[in-house]
Amino acid sequence: MLIYDIVIIGGGPAGLAAALAAKEKGIEQILILERDCELGGILNQCIHSGFGLHIFEEELTGPEYALRYIEKIEAFKIEYRLNTMVVDICADKRVTTMSQADGMCVLQAKAIVLAMGCRERPRGTLHIPGFRPAGIYSAGTAQKLVNMNGFMPGKEVVILGSGDIGLIMARRMTLEGAKVKVVAELMAKSGGLQRNIVQCLEDYGIPLRLQTTVVEIHGKEHITGVTLACVDEAGRVIDSTREYVSCDTLLLSVGLIPENELSLKMGVKLDMRTNGPVLNDKYETNISGVFACGNVHHVHDLVDDVSKEAEKAGTYAAMYVKGGA
């Protein structure tokens, strides 16, 4: 069985920064496991700029930001495996992976850094009544289809949720030729960055309606429209404000959930509020030598903050390995 000092689960911004930090602390045997076909994680589909202002003091696109780290990973000859899925992970830090190249493979780690990122909240968690037609996408899925595959979900778009992905997608859909009719936000204030509200909505004349939500989805096979309505301070729908808006696409940007299924499998304790692992001041979980960072810990607004957190987690993981050696 192969033994590594540190196995990092996930080759997105958190995993890359953790790996580099550990390497800089002198750890030799590091392995990054990535299920996708390239390193960089979700940054690869974030082709807009605005990344790296804090760390690089430059405005980079997502792929550019990722590349800065990937180039260092290559320069330091840190080992990584792509198209590799972790299928099991135990509290004794044994990791079972699956890939075409290596089949089923068991690795032993001295320390593990969990860096699996997060997923989008799906429609089902919102209890929006109506049909379940085609044309409803979480914003990130639509972003992948548009930015990576070059396909448009539709022409007339309603976006629910004004988190940053929703705002970014409002602009992207507009630039690619769709009409974004409205961005509806349940809360009294957008959850997105102010600069995104200005640059993604206001610059394109896209209305942002606060304290407004989708209360019904129309269309049996393909979405034909939504009913919007205002909500009061307590979040109750005000029926007199119901309004039908025709559309062929509904994008949902209603929050992100840390992806901790592997963490749970190995017995890591989660914080029920953040859905992320409970960590000590060394970014270590309840299992000694198992660390977590980035959006798997809690959802960050800025990738720069993910990288900073992951550097610390990687450093502590390195110290753990050295101390234990």
Partner: protein, 478 residues
Amino acid sequence: MYDVIVIGAGISGSTTARELSRYQLKICVVEKAEDVCCGTSKANSGIVHAGYDARAGSLMAKLNVQGNQMMEAASKELDFPFERIGSLVICCAKADIPVLQRLYAQGKANGVQGLEILGKEAVMAMEPNITAEVVAALYAPTAGIVCPFTMNIAYAENAFENGVEFRFHTEVKKIQKVEDLFEIETTKGLLQAKCVVNAAGVYADRIHHMLSAEPMRITPRRGEYLLLDKTAGAHVSKTIFALPGKFGKGVLVTPTTHGNLLVGPTAVDIIDKEGTDTTAEGLARLRKQGGDHVRNIPMEKVITSFAGLRAHEDGHEFMIAAAKDCENLIDCGGIASPGLSSAPAIGKMVAEIVVEKLSPRFNTQFYGRRKGILSPARLSYADRDTLIRENPMYSNIVCRCEMISEGEVVDAIRRSLGATTLDGIKRRVRVGSGRCQAGFCTPKTMEILSRELGVRMEEIKKSGSDAQMILGKNKEWL
């Protein structure tokens, strides 16, 4: 010209077609949707009822108990998930105990084995999450759960393998009897048959009235459901019912064969036979009522909600018979709950009526076994390793939540009556049915469908003809 045309590729039509394929008959199943299992059969509780609910002496009672008894053998022969997990009917008031006793007596009369009325302590020991207000419960050890999609698909696949034709996107518009033959006008042209089996679900009354004057009325009874993540799947270990009411068996809480937790259904009679939309009231009621007999359901773990329509007949009875005023029209209507539980017996009964009419010879080539889609997750790591080396597609995970590989998706598409849509893949191999609800896998699944079917991405559908996933290319409309 066909010997038999079966209208509807839901569970009743599919079990009927499969039982009929034991004979030398030219059979065709016509279905208005794009796939099998697209109506009532795809949106229900997935419960195999023990058989104590239906009135003693009714056809429903008889077929429920028979179907339940046949289910295990059928699940092995046709390779679909079935587990006999047992059920409890929870009674929370002393005054209602006679209701439990009536159910018990009715079950006995129907021939249900192993029924027991349990006291509070025994119930709590069995299911710690039952409400503390429970005073007694009816325990039915023969009740179970089944995967309704796989069961329907399995019967249809086996029918197909034994020579039954299936025509999709084929809606019956009009039927006439010309001498001894039925002329069936469909959206895909005219078909002829000696015998028609009406297994049209909520539309069975419309089909029936194209040929018969005998009364039949099917009301769509909407049932809404909440589906919870697998991390909530062990909240109960059996199917937990409330005491039955006027609109049926009430809201139940059950694990599914795939390890999720299901809460539902509501029961509201509606007019629209396509009204599978969920409602704000229904979803709110489930969040509240689910908790009436089961404590602390983690509603924050709901991953999706859906609604299905039961084909409720006015007398709440299965209408399985040859029409009296139209020779060789066999109705299979009113197949509401416990229709899924009864399905193996329904198929057998309908086939027997047809056989009596047409007196066909046995199909000596009939082969009753069907092998399901290989699930690598159930293999040992060593076997999985061998499989990946033989076919690398099994190493490429498409659906992260359910851990479904490209190999499984391709099998779902390439096999008999294979999937042609995202929903078809979902019902066959669960891609997109997990906690992210198709967020990550959608683009990948679309690419595989496009490649395997040899169609452009713009032609990929979620379900029926109008359900395109994408409407154009970037900048196409600028």
